[in-house]
Symmetry: C2
Subunit: 167 residues, 2 copies
DNA sequence: CGCTAGTTGGCACTCGGTGCCATTCACACT
DNA sequence: AGTGTGAATGGCACCGAGTGCCAACTAGCG
């Protein structure tokens, strides 16, 4: 894991048996080799949110959507662990991941605003959207540190904290 | 504002009447020209948190600390607006800012764990820390979009949402 | 005056990323 | 078969960020 920078794009291209120029046609950035799937997850989140009836409150809707999107099969968990470890340990990767999360936040803000019947630009949906992503990140961090923990129950607990509040 | 990339380091160095090499001795990265002050804010947050009595609950402590750190004088607000605009509009800058926020999150998790009497690595302080920063970011976003809004009251409202919960 | 330590900045280099263009290859259409 | 066309490929040159190395300057101090 030491040395994400140590692996140059030329290495990756050569490893893929492809020219450097071609590499950049498939991955807009070296970081996208690691983070590409996050966009798929965003798409999944959006459709999962849309599938929840409009009468459900935003927190429950987000909880359902995230549980659905994060329902990884046991085979995929090692890959997810590696990816999240990279995100947490390599600042460059974490920075890029944060940019991706902004897309999630926009989707969540729009969804919450629709359910609350207010504008997405208002304070409450804006705070809600960021807070939901934050809770998920917290669950991920704890999951990474505790190898025996179950991701699903951590996500549920994080959302419970959110719903209950921290007052 | 168009063109953060368009301004090269050579431009900045020349504008500062200094050599390119010397520029990199003062700013480890081009982005630090914009984000350097965030570290000062982190230091301020840490000391503000430490100044709140240990008997105060984490949410109230964080609210006090953030109100103190974000108490900008009217003269500084335009600068803050510019910086936050850069953070929100230029992905590169936003990405780096997110990395800085992680330092805030670590400080908040440690503080909350101490107040709750649990380990910082547990789910609740981890979620709490990220959620607090998320709420602040939400308040910033709304403040940026509404020029007449008062930052302080937005922060207060965001923390109220946090305390009340979203259930 | 000479010595030393810290600041400076020029130079060359690596690496990520982009634009341009020649080559190749598949699949048509005649 | 021959030809034409469009997409994928990848080599090449280029730019900008960031780094290591080292020479030159500028204190300060004996």
């Amino acid at each position: 894991m030491r040395g994400f920078d140590a692996v140059t794009v030329d290495d990756l291209a050569a490893a893929g048996g492809v020219g450097r120029r071609t590499f950049f046609r498939y991955f807009p950035t070296k970081l996208d080799v690691v983070l590409g799937q996050l966009d798929d997850a965003l798409a999944g989140l959006v459709s999962a949110l849309a599938a929840v009836p409009g009468t459900v409150d935003p927190t429950s809707a987000a909880r359902r959507a995230f549980l659905q999107v994060n329902a990884y099969s046991p085979d995929d968990e090692p890959v997810l662990r590696r990816r999240l470890t990279l995100i947490e340990t390599v600042p460059e990767v974490g920075a890029r991941a944060a940019v991706r999360y902004e897309g999630w936040e926009r989707a969540l803000a729009a969804d919450a605003a629709a359910r609350w019947g207010c504008a997405p630009g208002e304070l409450r949906p804006q705070v809600f959207a960021r807070v939901v992503v934050a809770a998920m990140r917290g669950a991920f961090t704890v999951w990474l540190a505790a190898p025996d923990a179950e991701l699903e129950s951590l996500v549920v607990a994080a959302f419970d904290d959110l719903a209950r509040g921290f007052g």
